[in-house]
Symmetry: C2
Subunit: 324 residues, 2 copies
Amino acid sequence: MRRLPTVSDVAEVAGVSRQTVSNVLNTPAIVRPETRERVQEAIASLGYRPHASARRLRTRRSSTIGVRLDPGTDGMSGSLLDRFLHALVERADRSGLRVLLYTAADEDAEIAVFERLLDGADVDALVLTSTHYGDRRIPWLVEHDVRFVTFGRPWGEHDTTDRSHRWVDVDGRAGLHAGTTSLLEQGARRIAFLGWPVGSGTGDDRRNGWRQAMREAGITDLAGLDLQVEEDPQDLGRGGRAVAGLEPAPDAVVCASDSLALGARLALGPDVPVIGYDDTPLARALGFASIAQPLDEVAAAVLDLIGSDEGVHHRLLTPRLVQR
Amino acid sequence: MRRLPTVSDVAEVAGVSRQTVSNVLNTPAIVRPETRERVQEAIASLGYRPHASARRLRTRRSSTIGVRLDPGTDGMSGSLLDRFLHALVERADRSGLRVLLYTAADEDAEIAVFERLLDGADVDALVLTSTHYGDRRIPWLVEHDVRFVTFGRPWGEHDTTDRSHRWVDVDGRAGLHAGTTSLLEQGARRIAFLGWPVGSGTGDDRRNGWRQAMREAGITDLAGLDLQVEEDPQDLGRGGRAVAGLEPAPDAVVCASDSLALGARLALGPDVPVIGYDDTPLARALGFASIAQPLDEVAAAVLDLIGSDEGVHHRLLTPRLVQR
DNA sequence: TTGTAGGCGTTATCAT
DNA sequence: ATGATAACGCCTACAA
């Protein structure tokens, strides 16, 4: 591999000092325009690029953010992380940030990874996904004064850690409210909700959106319509069976995820409207409506929060109902 | 964020010179055991970790590999990249390698990214996915003497670039051969192949596996059984319609992808055996068989090839038929 | 076996 | 506005 030109090379060609070259790069304003131009020509002619590691060593910042690639995620919605990552990498690049991946089997392992990554100065900020109730990573990061942003709210925490925990999330409640309302407007009355057992922040939030919309429509008797199944990638029949077992049959079903929606769709056929969540390729392919998270906005907000030193510490974005 | 301890700090605590500390880290063999131990204690007590950027600057290697997160991929099989990445990151970590992500809209943009990444010494090797016929990235990388491995064969190239292009791939032909054979053993005779139009290396390779198995079974009349559809995430009815239109109906269908298989499955119902490709969560969920790529092995092979200086320059792995 | 000296490429500080 | 000097943390000679 060819030897790379350095600031000194550029300086020599341009007939200035290394420092001036550095200034042109980092503080162009303080360099006389005519000098600046000469330096820039030299840079172009040599094909010079700053050496990332040298700069990082000097500035003591890696300009790199770490993101975990979780193993879990049923894979169907796994494409969600995929799409989020893509948006994140793209936007990060525009701000001169790199994205480094890591994995960890569980929380303790992940904290050990944090130590390695941070002590080695490999990353100077972290983006966490799939936060959950009682997440031990958060207090660890706060305590160690690490810069981080989570994609996901700190479910159940409203205490002092609040200001030190920056997060971005999507308002699932609003999403399900919109979906349910849209079905109501189309004349459906008996609308079932197919979700996970009570206890997950995300799931409960989405359920509440459905409840609220139903209540607003004057439908207070939700008996039997609140379906809760444990998701099982091996057997999406569960959700389907729960839905098919409803007596009388529902007019429509709103779901906490696209994979649940797939089950419902297969059990009920294409004539009963079904709304999923996440707008995965699956929803597109099968032609059912779904609630799409604005991942590009999420990525932008995450980077914004990572970069800003003060001001707003969290952001709740609104998803969009994709009709089909 | 706390100030990190350096070699000097460790040296001071251990009562030796910086150099000895460095030796303990990099060439433990030449340090007297008793000194070594003292140094290691100091390292542990201070929680010292080498500063990644400083080391990179000095050694001129980043110990980081770049991987592109492509935008394309229909998302269904997108989870394939996900799973591959996961395996790669996990194994890379064991070898002390980091994985950096990048994106690019097209080949030219990607080559521009290469320049940035390499000149900035951000990465010292690249892993490319979704190679295709006439891939311009390959000659560029070879010419610039960049270390890289592709997950995917150089379709159509058997010339001099051969030795300089290291690749790992999965034998789709063998996969479809196995799948088709298994159906034949179950008594099916009229087995259709649902794939993409001729012209993609991957697709043609898979088709050939089916052809070969059929020929070996003495079935030479494949008229009408070789179905070719352009995949369209909006409308997986295409594949389904092609399959449903067969007259007489097929005994079974083997497909070039799980999303094609999904279409076939929905069109034919659960009684006609369908085999997909990639063993995505979709196949698991719907309960159709699929051909699984050994992604963990692929990741291992990729890292192996990246690391080795001589020896084998490519590896063709065999996929596994997952019956359901 | 251990220590000394120098430099990787960059930028911050302080002169000029 | 520009330049000289030093230092970021590490490693590779080479010397002791």
